[in-house]
Amino acid sequence: MSNATLSDKRPSSLKGATLPKWFAWAVAAGSVALGLGISAAAGLDSSIQWALIAAALFVIGSYGISARVEGRRQAKDRIATSLIWVAFLLAVIPLASLIYETIKRGVKVLDGYFLSHSMGVVSDTEPGGGIYHALLGTLEQVGIATVISVPIGVLTAIYLVEYGRGKLSRAITFFVDVMTGIPSIVAGLFILSLWIVILGMGYSGFAGSMALSILMLPVVVRSTEEMLKLVPNELREASLALGVPKWRTILKVVLPTSIGGITTGVMLAVARITGETAPLLLLVWVTNFINSNPFKDPQGSLPVYIYLQFANSGGLGPAYDRAWAAALVLIAFIMILNLVARGIARWKAPKTGR
């Protein structure tokens, strides 16, 4: 063999030097301590600064020590791992602090009374009042938007995946992509000019729902499309080979197999539009009274409620507390929707039976 003449750099044993498991934690603790020390010595008072110094020290430190003890490959592995951890923490910190702040400020006035009363006879400067009118409006507007866009979106996705060939499907895919990028204010202005200015209709929850469904539709189409593509072609062929017509194959085999993922996609789309403010401000307008009819007259809605309460509060007082409590309700609503979606996805997922 010609290899024999080459010097073999590999160590004779397969066992290399390894650092103990607590090494990463020790370096983390050390770099946090060092980061705090450096910022104290330099007189820096921002917590972001010592955290960044600690993060940088952690990455450099674990690489340096590991390269010396374990070798370059393991050191590179450690640097990649620690970079991912730093990125993860950077992403989680805003989320955690947002939830913490919202809960801390939101629970002050959040109770059964707050959820079941409107602002009808309460002025912004007075305590009391609640979000019932806004919660009702949001549920109705989002519900109608979902009823409009889910059938259209799912059917579009079925067309694109199961039937679409050639120019038409390419054009639809393109326009769905374009729709994904439409700013919500533009969707609002479109419905405003069409529904209220040209057709002469008044402000209503339904007008807002139409704008919301424009925003929701591409998300539903895209996620449903991806889920349908995940269904193995073998299942479609198995069903067709049994003499089952294509439409029944889609209805009874393809959709049941992917229903969990489709539901998750729809719920995420609902979560996305629930927080939209701009189109509602243009189309639904506002009211402090309970209006349960989404087809006539302005309605309340949570995002607009939060905006107005905060805008009218001047940064303190009862309206300020109400804005935070309403924000907490909005976040909780979206989180519950996400949990429900996950539950449905798990419940409906194809079973392995083992």
């Binding site: 073998e234 198995a238 069903s239 080979a241 049994l242 089952v244 017509p245």
Partner: protein
């Protein structure tokens, strides 16, 4: 019940690519016909033209005639869905419906095609599972998911599902290539029993299998990659494996080529 297949002058295309050229053959009822040949020679493509599954592939197109007891499957006004009820198919990889139980998998072809009474379905499911030699293994877990069975059991479940709709012809596309020898044996035994009731066409890469299970064997070959696959010869299995009339067949079977 079983029907004869008569193919004449059949060409199968993928888009503009001619995959299978000018095939003519007869498949006798209540017999097993095996297709052998190197990969890419068009065996599976040709098999899929026999129940109009070829055209499910985008760009798939067929010219020529396939007579099922004197009725041309590619004639005007023929409904491919009706054809597939007459000519069932078992695929290479077991593909039970993941959302359905063992029972629902077998009943799927019937349920998706019309209404049946519960007692009637029970009877057909039991008969089909017995026909596929699977009943004893699954009779206590009919309501468990079909994907929880072993690979060999899943493949027999797929066979049960295919014979539950009482087709006249059963096409099998390498049904044992993903299975171990024991499961393969179970399925080969099953093929021997099924040929009493159905016309069976099986594609296989395993020459011993073709010799064991089939009455007649067809050898396919292609001149070069990119050339269309052709039927070289079809004859009684014994003759193909002992004294084929074409040299290429003998070369392939004896392992001197391919």
């Amino acid at each position: 019940m079983a029907k004869r297949i008569d193919v004449s002058g059949l060409n199968a295309y993928y888009g503009s690519f001619l995959a299978v050229e000018d095939i003519s053959m007869t498949v006798e009822p209540r017999s097993v016909t095996a297709f052998i040949g190197p990969s890419g020679c068009g065996k599976s493509t040709f098999l899929r033209t026999l129940n109009r599954m070829h055209e499910v592939t985008p760009g798939g197109r067929v010219e020529g005639k396939v007579l099922l007891d004197d009725e041309n499957l590619y004639g005007a006004g023929i409904d491919p869905v009706a054809v597939r009820r007459e000519v069932g198919m078992v695929f290479q990889r077991p593909n039970p419906f993941p959302t359905m139980s063992v029972y629902d998998n077998v009943a799927a072809g019937l349920r998706l095609n019309g209404k049946y009474k519960k007692a009637q379905l029970d009877e057909i499911v039991e008969k089909s599972l017995k026909g596929a030699n699977l009943w004893n293994e699954v009779k206590d877990r009919l309501n468990k998911p079909g994907s929880g069975l072993s690979g060999g059991q899943q493949q027999r479940l797929c066979i049960a599902r295919a014979i539950a709709v009482e087709p006249k012809v059963l096409l099998m596309d390498e049904p044992c290539s993903a299975l171990d020898p024991i499961s393969t044996l179970a399925i080969e035994d099953l093929i021997g029993e099924l040929k009493e009731r159905f016309t069976i066409v099986i594609v296989t890469h395993n020459m011993q299998q073709a010799a064991r299970v089939s009455d007649r064997t067809a050898f396919f070959n292609l001149a070069a990659v990119g050339q269309p696959g052709k039927l070289i010869e079809i004859d009684d299995t014994e003759r193909i494996f002992s004294n084929p009339s074409v040299q290429a067949t003998e070369d392939y079977i004896s392992g001197r080529f391919g």
